[in-house]
């Protein structure tokens, strides 16, 4: 059935509103990148620059003057995000596999407990986190950031959903008949087949860890061990605010997320909302 689209004025207005909205959504990113390439004097002139300049390297230099450990901070962020992601993929797929394929006592109750942990507001853990990490002697240690996030409820949920729908039980039975042990079945049969779900969960975990602010705020005491968001915040302070440097740093902090998003936006959106929709 061929349908001709003729727009009435109301629909034109709707299109315009959506377009303006999209510009509002993108604007801050655009100006973040533009300001990252201009000197502070340019940014503080009226009107401010609206197109890219050539001062990016100079801004990074200012950034490094203010934050001498910035490359370190970037390293800490990457290190923590990568380890968090690796641990999450392993532990969540293991737990998801157990919930998806095994029959065991209290299975439903235990799964309900996993899901209900999503309801606990993060700020409740802020104060005791300081205490636990002090007790363990983990202040200023990356493990204080990746271990608490090493197995997320959303991850367990995503992996359970995927494994129960994508991996036939017969395959697992066949492996067992062939003498494959419980872990070997997981390692050699299940793990290689969870690729798509692993990709989604990996990206979500990486982004969450990369953006985490509250835990580093109370755990990382030395500037050297700051993560990128924490380091950027340290630029705020008295005196002249180096907007060019702040925008350069923010661009560097946001760039990995943008790359991930451009590569996999659809899968990412579906993964992130899955917990809300089906949980």
């Amino acid at each position: 059935m061929e349908r001709r689209i003729i727009l009435d004025p109301g629909q034109w207005i709707a299109f315009m509103v959506v377009a303006v909205g999209a510009m509002i959504m993108l604007g801050p990113f655009y100006f973040m990148f533009v300001f990252a390439t201009h000197s502070n004097t340019d940014i503080l002139s009226v009107p401010p620059p609206v197109w890219f300049g050539g001062q990016f390297v100079a801004n990074v230099q200012v950034l490094l003057d203010k934050l001498p450990y910035f490359w370190n901070n970037l390293g800490v962020s990457f290190y923590v995000a990568v380890i968090t992601t690796a641990l999450n993929l392993f532990f969540c797929s293991l737990a998801g596999y157990a919930f998806a394929t095994y029959e065991f006592r209290f299975k439903n109750l235990l799964f309900m407990i996993v899901m209900s942990t999503l309801l606990i507001p993060p700020f409740l853990g802020m104060i005791p986190t300081t205490l636990i990490m002090t007790l363990f002697g983990w202040m200023n240690e990356p493990r204080a950031l990746y271990l608490p996030m090493a197995c997320s409820a959303l991850g367990v949920f995503l992996m359970r959903q995927y494994i129960s729908s994508a991996i036939p039980r017969e395959l697992l039975e066949a492996a067992r008949m062939d003498g494959c042990g419980e872990f070997a079945t997981f390692r050699h049969i299940v793990l290689p087949l969870t690729g798509p779900a692993m990709g989604t969960l990996g990206l979500i975990t990486f982004i969450t860890s990369w953006n985490n602010f509250m835990t580093p705020l109370v755990v990382m005491r030395d500037m050297e061990m700051y993560t990128v968001p924490l380091a950027l915040r340290a630029l705020q302070g008295s005196g002249q605010v180096p907007w060019g440097a702040i925008c350069a740093g923010s661009s560097i902090a946001v760039a990995p997320l943008l790359i991930i998003f451009i590569l996999a936006s659809r899968r990412l959106i579906e993964g992130m909302t899955a917990g809300a929709l089906k949980g």
Binding site: A14, V18, M25, P28, M32, L44, P47, P48, F91, C92, A95, A98, Y102, F104, V114, T117, I120, P121, F123, L124, G125, M126, I127, P128, T129, T130, I132, L147, A150, A153, V156, D178, G179, C180, G181, E182, F183, A184, H188, I207, N211, F213, V218, P229, L230, L232, R233, L235, Q236, V241, I246, C247, G249, S250, A253, V254, F261, S265, M272, T273
Partner: protein, 333 residues
């Protein structure tokens, strides 16, 4: 699959091996889910119980664990009568409402529009709107701080320029737009700026939620309605809105839970810690939310007991609001 083939053993050896394994079909699931529960016990449950314990004590962590003093309900009575807590709570609710309501008022029509009008460009547009949700809150809040600065901020430049816009010697918009730069740090504006940034961050998230609900509404309902002569607007009010109710309930619940514990956006937008670390929340602490109040009580005033009481009171308030929302939705349907 090749790995499986290599590991294939004769049935006899396999049986011997299984008998010795501690990871049997009975024990394996418990072992496999144990990492989650161990981590949760250490980093989730224990903290939760410990904040309860702590909320009945006075504790400055610099005195060590032995420095805890039992004070009963004193922390709670103090917090409940503390003007600063009331003020932070007022700020929290103000921002939650002013950012939360428009989130849904924008997301529902937007999702409807994307669902009915766009097919080829839908995913791209959804992506654009969703992008703020995944970005580093700190980085983007810093950028917003720059855009909202008084003398050189782009937003002020834009607003005052629009007022100067001339058509045939007249300035038709000079009524609407300010003629002078607005000081967004002024206590009267702080909450508006925070609310805008929060709205900006979450409108795409809500759109995705509503869009996913719209996609489950059968198309023939609309077809039947348009055969009966229902206009697009009638279809929206009589088919879409009623069928969206469950998703509205979920999305509003998530907004309540999220907005009442706002921390990062107001924290960065109001300049983090002021001089001496005391003026958290900007001038007149107009942007100090309850979660920030908890942070300030613990980490600036070193009073972890009172801060724990704040945490639990805030948690109770969130639970109550969620319950009230639940009740309101149930009664209506």
């Amino acid at each position: 699959m090749s790995a499986v083939m290599e590991r294939r053993e004769t049935p006899a050896t396999a049986q011997v091996k299984t008998r010795r394994r501690w990871l049997t079909r009975k024990t394996a699931p418990y072992v496999f889910i144990s990492p989650f529960f161990i981590l949760f016990a250490v980093f989730g449950l224990f903290p939760l119980l410990f904040t309860i314990y702590l909320s009945f004590h006075y504790w400055d962590p610099s005195t060590g664990l032995g420095g805890m003093k039992w004070v009963g309900f004193e922390n709670f009575t103090f917090v409940l009568t503390d003007d600063w807590f009331h003020k932070s709570l007022y700020n929290t609710f103000w921002i939650a409402l002013v950012s939360g309501v428009p989130q849904h008022l924008a997301a529902i029509p937007l999702a409807f529009f994307l669902h009915t009008r766009l097919s080829r460009w839908r995913n791209a547009v959804v992506g654009l709107y969703f992008l703020p949700f995944i970005t580093s809150t700190v980085a983007i809040s810093l950028v917003f701080t720059s855009l909202f600065s008084r003398d050189y901020g782009l937003i002020n430049v834009l607003l005052t320029q629009m007022g100067q816009w001339e058509i045939a010697g007249l300035r038709p918009l000079s009524w609407v737009f300010p003629t002078e730069n607005i000081d967004w740090n002024d206590p009267g504006y702080t909450k508006w700026v925070i609310s805008f940034v929060v709205w900006w961050r979450y409108v795409g998230w809500n759109t995705v939620l509503y869009l996913s609900a719209l996609q489950t509404i059968p198309k023939d309902l609309y077809e039947a309605a348009s055969i009966d002569g229902a206009s697009r607007r009638q279809q929206f009010w009589h088919i879409t809105v009623p069928l969206l109710r469950p998703m509205m309930f979920l999305a509003i619940t998530l907004s309540i839970i999220g907005n009442l514990q706002l921390f990062e956006e107001p924290f960065i937008l109001t300049g983090g810690l002021g001089p001496g670390g005391t003026s958290i929340g900007g001038p007149d602490q107009a942007g100090k939310t309850a979660a920030m109040h908890m942070y300030a009580t613990a980490y600036i005033e070193s009073d972890f007991g009172t801060a724990s009481a704040v945490a639990w009171l805030l948690f109770l308030i969130i639970a109550m609001m969620t319950w009230a929302n639940n009740k309101a939705f149930k009664e209506k349907s």
